[in-house]
Subunit: 605 residues, 2 copies
């Protein structure tokens, strides 16, 4: 029996089931019923069939072959995890690699059927698939004739975990800054602007935000499995029975919304008739689409709550600033511990991560991590989403770089910060690369921009120092971040490539974005430096509203890795000013020895 | 009789004609039958009815009112030129100002008819109009029922000039670098990629490029009124009888295309049947659209020759480099003349421009100016498209800024260059502003970017120094430029705002873009500095093809206006290196005195 015999057996069972149901293709995306980025174990069907653990990947199984699509962050990891299987790795966005819809269209013959879990597959994906088939066959296709609803795990994944069902809790108004009743009224006005009578919301963090609740159904993401329906007269939150609390019932009465059972959505939608319903095609499942379409008309567009939630209010920002200060204290303590450690060989990636996690867990209002801590030494840091485990990790050496990307969930906010530190001597090239990454990171943070700019306008500021060296990082420069919610949040982002499927959101006052350029040399090392920035209004002149960033993260950079002679005067001044601020705000929370260390670490250049 | 009585009389005559034809709205856009940016006098109907001379404007006339839409470059000028008329100025893109389609939709009642010259109005404009009416009336509209073809000048504009008809000439192959037969084959391959059988091309510069000819029908734009039709087997150039030459007939035979009479297009299209024809909705008239639609199917998209023409080949680039060097010599001589002038009060804006025009006209291969020279002193330079005339111009003073934006058409290329120079003492603020403009100009020129970038990704590099001061210029940073063709050319551009109606073109090796940031203070002064840049490949690494710019323009900047202490070290080095290159390449063509002056003007910082 070879290494990955179990994968072959599972795929064989799936193919038998496909033949029984007369299905020629099965698509297994990553995702739950809400197209969440991170999912609970119940939804790890794609991992069950492939062994690939990355957060993004879609499996296609036919009678003859199996292919897995994933993006640049996971190429190295996927190659490793798929080794020993017959599954072909399809590197998304690489030259000559067809998309999944195009590949299916190329093989598809009339009458064939494609199996999908319609509760999972989003409207948009179905559209792309139908479009590709129509282009190929030159005839109008009906999704209802081509797609067959099936749960590919059913009858095969015997020890599948249960659907999670944690109890929700209510965000106090002094932290959320806005009552649900007010949010519902704002949403209703936006629906009227779009000429929609109602909306079905599937996206979990949007629902949490709208109803001022938080859940425990996805690790690191304080969300509860739920749906929402809002129209001009009613608002309904669909929640699992076990997730409800008395407190929530009381809140629902006060804020004028109803609570119904999670599974009752389909029946409920069957009673909605003759309405114009807004659905977000990226986050709404084909199942809901069909249920609504039967007796209503549909307009598609971004769910308005996504943009509403992205703009943090003053109360949220007050809380967030506190969360970032305390989180920065924990990370600074960790850096002090690492940089002053007499013998780092006594540590490994995993034990180092645990130290940091322990420091965070002691902070006031701590809930959980906002994602599993990335602690990557040497070549491991070249994998952007590497995760060391207790069993599988690299020991640390007194040389080269350790990259630590981490964050916490607190009652006052969600954090995300990366520092790369020198554990000992570095090569000249390492220093040159670290300096370029830090310069890009500072140049973006220093930007002044006009209202109306998107992340696409700003991205080059972060990349320019690396592009000058002929180096690029194959991911965006920054993402939005939730308030006691998901660490990745839209609609804003800092990236340079145009992507039709993602709304290009204007940066507005109150939005957060990360600033995290990097250099990743496969087999050698990885460097990433990340702060979270708050978009804020600067001066308003005759030429418009100018904006800049307030830096929320307050953790020193490792000057030991820096060639300060390569910085411009403005970069130097900005860096000194930041380090002065770090010292002033963080040092009161440190022990005497740590304070001494920080005084030196944050020394002026 | 008031100041602008003649405008009232003309509009009254038009309204009488409207009543006769039962037409309630007349739309008079700027534009010829080819939606050209600059048009010959025959097409100045909008100017005839309004007195507004700007290059962009659309007039709407109803029984009750007349409104003129124009863009930000022309607000000041339009206000001045419309004074004394009843015509309302509609400032495009300003808050609260409806677009023309929306305004018509707001007033339109069922059964009303809109008069347009269907040979002039582009498909895209008709679509916008129909879309706005449909949104308003909630019913499907047929353009054929709403629009009435009329030439609003007919019977009213008695002394209308004739259609221009200059003789065309052929671009020698050693300059064009590619024969028409080859270009036709390349075009046919692109049509096949788009699944089109044929194409009707209306855009004049595209037609000139495709058939390797140049014309004389529009001042400063070496184009001939023409259409083209190309399919898999035939290529036809439609030209006025008087434009043809024996040389062209011979060339047509050799390159396998036919020449037909300009006016014969409609009859010709009537014989095309059952084909799929590609039409560019922005440049093709509704008239052609209808003629093709009768017996063919249509796909709309950018005419492929636009992108083909934008990428200059090696022969063209060799010629262009020569043109830019000689053009730079003329401008440098002019700057020397101005900067060394013992008494500038003896000059005015117009006479200064004439000096420069005279210097250009003596250069080898000179054809004409590429646009009327902008010579703007003091507050006049705050109007981006100001044009001094012999009768109306400002005298020069030995202080403040003179802005000169100019270019030539040569047999070897088309140029465009702007310098702003100090004629004497400047205020501290002027120096601060000049320095910011020059920094933005240098920072864009210094950029390294990855293949795939568009002008939107790069624009912030040029604007950052101004945005930091709370200043913005209300136009793009750069545009493409033709090869012995129009001074404005697409599809590439450097601008930051997203514009749905303009294709966002990737910057490709061989494309030219201008680099012209500025500061414009109404009533005070204007600063603009402009070079032309060539996009070229830099190193190709594992991370992709990196690109940078070669600067084609070789004219010194005025260091007298610069605060060099505000430059970064890299900016200083780059500037010194550029000035060294200017001196080395330009000085051999100068007189001894001019050479001495340039040595000082291009001194290292």
């Amino acid at each position: 029996m070879t290494d990955k015999q179990w994968i072959r057996e599972r795929l064989a069972a799936l193919r038998a089931s496909m033949r029984e149901q007369n299905v020629q293709y099965v698509i297994i995306p990553t995702g739950d019923y809400h197209n969440s980025e991170y999912v609970s174990d119940f939804f790890r069907t794609r991992e069950f069939y492939t062994g690939f653990t990355g957060s993004n990947g879609t499996l296609l199984v036919t009678d003859r072959e199996a292919r897995l699509w994933t993006d640049g962050r996971y190429f190295v990891q996927a190659e490793k995890e798929l080794a020993g299987t017959d599954i072909l790795l399809m590197k998304m966005s690489e030259e000559g690699v067809p998309t999944l819809p195009r590949l299916i269209a190329g093989q598809y013959r009339e009458g064939e059927r494609i199996g999908v879990d319609e509760r999972i597959i989003p409207i948009h994906t179905v559209e792309l698939l139908m479009h590709a088939l129509e282009e190929k066959l030159h005839t109008k296709m009906e999704a209802g004739n081509v797609l067959v609803h099936m749960d590919p795990a059913e009858g095969i994944w015997h020890d599948r975990p249960c659907l999670p069902c944690g109890r929700v809790f209510i965000m106090p108004e002094e932290l959320a800054g806005e009552r649900t009743a007010v949010r519902l009224q704002r949403l209703r006005r936006l629906l009227a602007d779009e000429r929609a009578d109602g909306i079905v919301i599937s996206r979990l963090d949007d629902i949490m935000w709208l109803f001022n609740i938080r859940g425990r159904d996805v690790e690191c993401n304080p969300v509860a499995l739920s749906y929402a329906y809002v129209d001009g007269v009613q608002a309904v939150l669909f929640l699992q029975e076990g997730a409800k609390t008395d407190e929530l019932e009381t809140y629902a009465q006060a804020e004028n919304f109803r609570i119904m059972e999670y599974g009752a959505l389909a029946v409920f939608l069957g009673q909605i008739r003759g309405q114009t319903i807004l659905l977000d095609p990226v986050y709404t499942s084909e199942f809901i689409h069909r249920a609504v379409l039967k007796q209503n008309s549909i307009i598609t567009g971004q769910n308005p709550t996504t943009a509403m939630k992205a703009v943090k209010n003053e109360r949220e920002l007050d809380a967030i600033r506190k969360a970032y200060l305390m989180d920065s204290v924990a990370v600074t303590k960790f850096l002090c511990f690492m940089k002053q450690h007499p013998d780092v060989t006594a540590l490994n990636e995993y034990s180092a991560a645990k130290c940091l996690d322990e420091l965070r867990s002691r902070l006031p209002g701590y809930l959980e991590l906002s994602f599993p801590t990335i602690s990557a030494y040497g070549a491991n840091a070249a994998m952007m989403h590497y995760e060391a485990t207790e069993e599988d990790n690299a020991p640390l050496q007194p040389e080269g770089f350790l990259l630590v990307d981490s964050g916490g969930q607190y009652m006052t906010g969600t954090t995300d910060v990366t520092r790369t530190i020198a554990l000992g001597p570095l090569t000249m090239e390492m220093i040159r690369h670290y300096t370029a990454v830090l310069r890009g990171h500072l140049d973006l943070a220093m930007a002044t921009y006009l209202e109306g700019c998107t992340g696409r306008n700003l991205d080059i500021l972060a990349r320019q120092p690396m592009w000058e060296m002929g180096i690029d990082y194959k991911c965006g420069t920054g993402h939005g971040i939730g308030f006691v919610l998901n660490v990745h949040e839209g609609p804003q982002a800092i990236r340079w490539r145009y992507d039709k499927t993602r709304e290009e959101a204007v940066l507005r006052e109150g939005m957060l974005v990360t600033d995290e350029p990097g250099i990743y040399l496969a087999g050698e090392y990885g460097i990433r430096i990340e702060n979270v920035l708050l978009c804020r209004n600067k001066e308003k002149t005759a030429d418009g509203q100018f904006m800049d960033f307030e830096v929320l993260t307050l953790v020193p950079y490792d000057l030991d890795a820096l060639d300060s002679s390569a910085l411009t005067e403005r970069e130097k001044e900005y860096l000194n000013c930041y380090h002065r601020r770090v010292y002033d705000e963080v040092s009161p929370y440190l022990e005497e020895g740590e304070r001494e260390w920080l005084r030196h670490a944050a020394r002026p250049l």
